[in-house]
Subunit: 353 residues, 2 copies
């Protein structure tokens, strides 16, 4: 059985992100009524209590932890966490670190979350650098659950990556996909500037050789170009954090452009009639570009699940992130990642004998 019958607690960062916390609280209130989990709300206690009073919720399932500081999203991660020692990110991660069966969800400064997690959470043995894995939409469905999305990692936790890191990310990403998408044998690719690894930058070329020669629980399909990302040829795509950030933000930019154009169309009276006549194509396009469906990006490399959502997330995005965090906790995805990294370590050990 995959799902373990214990009550999962989601530690939800209410303060970080662009809004005033209202969207996160609305999601939490709804989750307390609809999902089988407890929530720990981290932020300004007075403010949270006041706002909660106006929302339908199950008080038995909600607890509030006070965090007075707010992380400034406009400065570098190091400066931001230095100025906010008791931020919702710091307090939330501390809560996760000392409690079993908990997961952290935040829409905060991604760099600050990575730095704070590195300082406060227990790393998975053998993982030197964390990876933030973004979920992105593709046309192909994958795994037993027919998920319409794939995984790209890293998208910003580790800007500059060696071949060691790229191989570790392949192992972590495929382990995560195995549990979350119920995809026993994920197809893994390295993102590059061509399918010929010889022309790739040195770390990618080295990682390519190790992935091609190694014995892994996934199918390594080689280097791919970025136009193959959305086609969905790979279930897991591995990249350094700089390039991954550029890819995921390019996709976001296109999605918001397409949204704006579709909104222009829907401003017209004829829109509703038109769309109902278009069948599934346009509807599918709208679903694919709607990031709030996907629930956020797991930060891999720690013994506790951490889900980072977009800073401008709305209620639905927070709700989906809470659900995803519970799923990561209950499916044992982190244990799977840990096992796979351990196997990689022992293979490396043998290779060095």
């Amino acid at each position: 059985m995959d799902w373990i019958e214990v009550v999962t607690t989601i530690v939800l960062d209410v303060t970080a992100g662009e809004g005033d916390g209202r969207e996160a609280l609305q999601a939490a209130a709804l989750a307390s009524l609809e999902l089988d989990l407890d929530l720990c709300l981290v932020g300004d206690e007075t403010d949270i209590t006041e706002q909660l009073a106006t929302l339908a919720h199950d008080a038995e399932r909600l607890r509030v932890i006070h965090a007075p500081d707010r992380v400034d999203s406009n400065v570098s991660a190091r400066v931001a966490i230095g100025k906010a020692p008791r931020s919702s990110i710091a307090v939330g991660l501390d809560t996760v670190a000392r409690t079993r069966d908990t997961a952290f969800v935040s829409a905060g400064h991604a760099g600050a979350i990575v730095l704070e997690a590195t300082q406060r959470l227990t790393p998975i043995a053998g993982v030197k650098r964390a990876a933030l894995a973004a979920v992105y939409p593709t046309l192909k469905l994958r795994g037993e659950r027919q998920d319409p999305f794939a995984l790209l990692l890293d998208v910003g936790a580790t800007v500059d990556c060696s071949d060691d890191e790229l191989v570790a990310f392949a192992v972590m990403g495929s382990a995560y996909a195995r549990r979350i998408s119920v995809n026993p044998h994920p197809r893994v690719a390295l993102l590059s500037n061509g399918t010929n690894a010889e022309v790739a930058p040195p770390p990618i070329n080295l990682a390519h050789r190790r992935l091609a020669e190694g014995d892994f629980d996934f199918e390594y399909i080689g280097c791919i170009r970025a136009d193959q990302i959305t086609r969905g040829d790979a279930d897991v795509i591995v990249s350094d954090g700089y390039t991954g950030d550029v890819v995921i933000r390019t996709l976001e930019g296109v999605a918001s452009t397409a949204h704006a154009l579709l909104r222009q169309a829907s401003d017209r009276f004829r829109w509703r009639l038109g769309v109902s006549m278009l069948g599934r194509g346009i509807e599918r396009l709208r679903e694919l570009i709607d990031w709030e469906n996907y629930g956020g990006a797991p930060l891999l490399g720690f013994q506790s699940p951490v889900i980072v959502t977009q800073s401008n997330s709305h209620r639905r995005a927070f709700f989906n992130a809470i659900r995803l965090a519970a799923k990561v906790e209950r499916t044992g995805a982190i244990a799977e990642v840990t096992d796979c990294v351990e196997r990689l370590q022992s293979t490396r050990g043998r290779a060095h004998d």
Copy 2:
């Protein structure tokens, strides 16, 4: 007056690219009838002559130059050009190098074109590394011509860039945009992983400081994230060739995914009716993602115009590339690039005094 009244000759590579050359020849035949320019067709002479006989064309405007070798697109650029010394790319670029008022158009192996151009064309004084500039669609219109696209460079000519190269690309890209989009004062940005240059990789951070402090004929607006690309905040975005390749191919991938979805919709009888009711939004989306509208990517850094089109280009893409090449020639865009690079050099000279 911007347009100089001489007959421009476009040297068109018929052989390179994915197809059998038929699409390029159809475009050339049409261009000979509709555009005020001469064409030099490079490829297998017998084959070109036979195929031309079946197409309506103006024989006065077409000339054929034989090139027996074919560049293999599946190997690295260096290997490919080594195996094909008299390819359509090599012969075509030689023709351009020794003739005034000519421009080269090819759908061939971009890496091979860059390498052959470096060996056969005269570089612009002061330009050490070439940049391939891709045109990409944005929502905003720009310049006097209200062009719905902006420029991203480099997208693959120079994979690893120093700050020197990034600054030179900013100067070349803005000079090109000034003439082609009739945009006297283009807004230029550096692509990065955030708007704070402090967190950018070192070459970007250094280039940022020089662009912010220097005195240029363009408005430097700082570092931008990749989601700002399609929003159109910048007219010219500067990047190293590796990251630029990833961006442009990500955009291609999304475009082809969206195309596939729109095609699914159009397979239904109801589509036509639906689309006509949607007004401009969807139509605009379709136009924006249709790469064949844009005519190809200029390769900047040489004294002759070179336009690289996608390897799977159809007739319309070739026709637009021919037209763009003539426009680059006639508007004096290369002279503008040369002047601006010269000014950059003299500023650097003074700075070092």
